[in-house]
Each structure stands twice: as C-alpha cells, then as structure tokens.
C-alpha cells in the first residue's frame, strides 16, 4: 500500500488544501509520497517536507510544468504510477482537471469529493448537490481519489523537514498551450480555508452595495463569498461563488446575507459549524438550516453589526 499525493501550488506557496489531502492520505498509508511538479518551485517542496509526518517528497522541476497543464502532469504521473495503490489530489479545480485524466489512462475509476475513507477500497462522497451520500467500493487496484478538503482536518504541525528527492523528467505536449491567467487579488483570507466566511446574495442589489459585505468581512477578518445569483448579476467575480458549482466551504462561522438558500448554494456551505442568516424574507429556506436567524433589512442590520463589532 503506497499513496501518492499530488501537491497543488503556484510555484511559490503550497496550497493549504495539500494539508487536508495529506491528512486523508495518512488514513491510507503511513508514508505517503508528496509529488511537487512545477517550475522553480523548490520552496514548495520545502514547505511540503516540513509538514509533520511527511517522509518522502519528490520534486520535478522543469519549465514545462510552469503552469499546471493537465496533459503534461498526467503523462509525468503515469510514468511513476505503477508503484502506487492510491493517487490523491484535492477536489479543487486543479485536482478535478487532472485526476480523471490520470485515472482513465490507468484504466481505473475515480471517486470525486471523498468525504470519508472507510477502508482502503471503500469511500463516501456526496452526490445530488450534497442531498445524498454514496458509499462506493473501488474494484480497481489503483484508487484515484479527489479529496473534499473541508472533510479532513489539515495537518498543521511542522517538522524539521525531510529529504527531497529530485526527479528529472520533462514532458511537454504541443497540443495545449498556456496563454494567460487573470487572478482575483485579495488581502483577505482564502475562501476555502477561512475560519469565518461572510457571503452576499442577490439581496445586495448591486456591486456598489456589495461593499457592505466586504466591510463586515474586514471587521471579522473573514473571507468573502457569494451566491451564484450575486456572481451572475456581476456583483463579484466568479471565484467568490460558494455552492455546488463553485467552492465548498465549511468554516466555523458562515454568515449568509441576502441569500435565500437555494439547494445549489446550500451544497457549498451546509457543513459550516455555525450558520447565521440575515434576510428580510422570514420564509427563506436559509432559515431552515441557520443556527441563528435575523429577519430584517440587511442595509440597516449589517451596518449596525459592523458598528457593534468595532466598538466591542
């Protein structure tokens, strides 16, 4: 039994989702191998090696991996896959793009968004926007799993680092080329790993007024999220979206402001520890799952909240 974790990163920083994925890998194998593929990403390998419990980090550094092109990383992983019985990635857009391609090339099934590892062949994952939980047994020799990071506690402890093995292998297909990237910049904590998330919906009315959500987030040190309605209406960029088709979050505190609570949104946040809903419609479905509900005009209530949090 040996497990490979493909590390998500931007060549400088290891993505925090790796910490949760590694935690899941530890349930399968005492000594998972962490694979860092990128360009000038030595720092990422060092961060991976410093996680408590990591025994092996493989580093493949080449200009052809400067951007995570699925075709290139897939072929690289295939060249090493035969020695592993499980391959894990976070269930992020990175992992979802890459792992099914690897699985198909290996002629094995993939389980998406694993929320629980029952044994080395048996896994739980949500289906129907989180409205049902499916338990599956994988019959293939190699298990390909994307890990729902909010379902596994991140490995935060550090060690004085382990050795890093350099592997020299460049693969660059000519069929796919990276052209450009436009990232949304934010000083706030990252949505997927924030302890507090404040989300706004269509009730915010426009992009200008959505700033109110950001102001509330700032006094709480929270990340900002949004419903699909708010994204589609152009209040915020799409990577703010929480839901079945956006990000899945499970913070300690989730504050939903002006969000009715459509099934697709609930799929992305219903595992939050405490949910607060602020909505003027007292029959909004969000109140059926909210730990604390406040009925009223968000344009009166949210500024009050900001004021009281500042003075407290």
């Amino acid at each position: 039994m040996s497990t490979l974790v493909i590390v998500e990163h931007n060549n400088k920083l290891m993505h925090p989702a790796t910490r949760n994925t590694f935690a899941a890998a530890l349930q399968l194998d005492k000594n998972p191998v962490l694979l860092v593929v990128g360009h000038e990403c030595q720092a990422v390998a060092a961060q991976a090696a410093a996680m408590a419990g990591v025994h092996a980090v493989w580093l493949v550094d080449s200009p052809c991996y400067a951007h995570p092109i699925a075709e290139n990383i897939c072929d690289l992983v295939l060249s090493m896959a035969s020695s592993f019985s499980a391959i894990l990635t976070p269930a992020s857009t990175f992992g979802k793009n890459l792992l099914p391609r690897i699985a198909a090339k290996l002629d094995v099934a993939q389980v998406s968004d694993v929320t629980r590892i029952i044994d080395s062949n048996t896994f739980e994952h949500p289906i129907y926007a989180g409205n049902a939980i499916e338990t599956v047994r994988v019959l293939d020799k190699i298990k390909a799993l994307t890990i729902r990071t909010t379902a596994f506690d991140a490995v935060h402890d550090e060690q004085s680092s382990c050795s890093i093995e350099h592997i020299d292998k460049a693969i660059s297909g000519a069929k796919t080329r990276f052209i450009k990237q436009e990232l949304s910049r934010s000083e706030r904590p990252e949505l997927g790993s924030a302890k507090i998330v404040v989300s706004g919906g269509r009730g915010l009315q426009n992009a200008e007024k959505f700033k109110l959500i950001e102001d509330l987030a700032d006094v709480l040190g929270a990340a900002v999220g949004a419903s699909r309605a708010a994204v589609d209406a152009g209040f915020v960029p799409n990577d703010y979206q929480v839901g079945q088709t956006g990000k899945v979050v499970a913070p300690t505190l989730y504050i939903a402001v002006g969000i009715s609570g459509a099934v697709q949104h609930l799929a992305g946040m219903k595992d939050s520890k405490v949910i607060v809903a602020i909505n003027k419609d007292e029959d909004a479905p969000i109140f059926q799952i909210a730990s604390y509900g406040l009925v009223g005009d968000l344009f009166e209530l949210v500024p009050q909240m900001i004021e009281q949090l500042k003075t407290a």
């Binding site: 090339k105 099934a109 499916e134 069929k175 088709t245 505190l253 607060v276 509900g293």
Partner: protein, 249 residues
C-alpha cells in the same frame, strides 16, 4: 467542423430528491427529468457555432435507457442535426461512459466534443477528462469563454483563483461551465421539426466493447439533517449569542 455534444438525462435540478429507504439509491419513479443544465450550455455553444457557420454539423449523443430519447429530442429541438442513443438499462461509471463515447467519437470523427463539466446527479466531474485521455486529445475543462482560430481554439477556464486561458489544438474535448452562455428555449415549431430529425439507436451490447466493473455502489443514504436554530430579534442579541453561546467570535 463537426461537433459532438454529449448530454445526460438527470432528475430536474429544481426537484427535491428523496433517498430510498433501502439505501439502494434515489427515487426516480414519476420524477420530472430534464437535460443536465451543464449539457444545455454545451448544446447552446454548439448551436451558436452552427449559426456562425463555424460548425457544419452538430450531433447529440447520450448513453442511457430508451427514455433518454426525450433528452435527445430536446437537443434536436434546440438545433442539433441528428442524435445517437446508446441504449442500456444499466447505470455505468464515468470511465465506462467515456469508453462508450470514445467508440462513438472513433466512428463519427468529430473535430470537437462539447460536454457539461459535471452532471448534477453524480456530481463527478470526470467524463470529459476521461474521454480526452482515452482519445489522447487535449482538454479544456470548466470553460466559460471559447474563441475558434482555425484548427485551434482559445478557451477561458474558470479556475479557483480566477480565470486561465489555454490554447488547445483540435480535435479536443471541452467541458463547459455555467457562465459560458445563456441557453435558449426550444420554440414550438422547432419541437415539431425535431420529431422528424434522425435519431439512431444503438444497443450497447452490439458495440463490441468490453466494459468491466470498476466501482460498486454499496449504499446511498440521506445526509445528516441540520435543523434550524433560533431567530434572534436584534443585532445585539446575535453578536451576544455568537460570542457567548456559540463561542465563534
């Protein structure tokens, strides 16, 4: 250019699903079914390429029971030229669906395969990537912008941190995201016209594919229910409760 669009018949997204008591799955008896919403977007994109004369033919394909003909008729009403149903009574895992589609691609030789990024029932988000792998074609997933340049295309992808643009050579597999377009409704005359468009049925058993079992579903259960808590009367009370009762502030 010939485009193949893979569509799936799923429980309508607005239906509240019910998990069967015996843990074998989700109740589909007398439930409203529709085309997977992501596939509608893929179909809309193909039709727009047809209207722009970039595409010459759009073929809708699905794998499923004979009831899936209804979904294909919808695709034809939206503007697909013809449709193929690979009929099978069984539910198949993503990898086997990808293998079936691979066979159809090898027979039809499209230049582009458009698919939804995920089906809203299994939420797997796998089949397009798997099909691309089996064909050894490039892939662009979660696409929200698409520009054709001769024999390559530029795809804008929705990634976690924002957007990424890839250049992809044809033939390719593209999986589409919700923001790519706004699907149209089929007009009544088009629904009538769709009835006479060609729909080929192929029985899976006659395709000569050896599909093995990769996954066994042991059970399907309802998630733990979360009950509503309390309504508070003021911001002051809310902050007080968050601090002292829930202890999250």
């Amino acid at each position: 250019m010939k485009i193949l669009v893979a569509v799936k018949r799923v429980i309508d997204p607005y239906v509240k699903i019910r998990v069967k008591g015996d843990g074998t799955g989700v109740d589909k008896q007398n439930i409203k079914m529709s085309m997977n919403p992501f596939d509608e977007i893929a179909m809309e994109q193909a039709i727009r390429l047809l209207e722009q004369k970039i595409a010459t033919e759009v073929i809708a394909v699905t794998v499923g029971t004979e009831a899936s003909q209804e979904t294909l008729r919808q695709a034809l009403a939206l503007g697909a030229n013809r449709a193929i149903l690979v009929s099978t009574a069984k539910e198949h895992c993503s990898l086997n669906i990808a293998k079936i589609l691979q066979k159809i691609v090898n027979d039809e030789k499209p230049d582009l395969v458009l698919m939804g990024k995920q089906a809203i029932d299994g939420d797997n988000n796998q089949t397009p990537q798997m099909l691309a792998a089996l064909l050894d074609w490039p892939q662009a997933t979660f696409v929200s912008g698409l520009t054709m340049n001769g024999d390559s295309l530029e795809a804008v992808r929705e990634v976690d941190g924002g957007l990424e643009t890839l250049g992809v050579n044809l033939p390719a597999v593209i999986s589409v995201d919700l923001r790519l377009n706004e699907p149209r409704y089929a007009s009544l005359p088009n629904i009538m016209k769709a009835k006479s468009k060609p729909l080929t049925m192929i029985a899976l058993e006659t395709m000569g594919l050896e599909l093995k079992e990769h996954i066994e579903v042991l059970s399907v259960t309802a998630p733990p229910t979360r009950s509503g808590g309390v309504k508070v009367d003021s911001v002051e009370e809310l902050i007080n409760k968050l601090k002292h009762e829930a202890k999250v502030l």
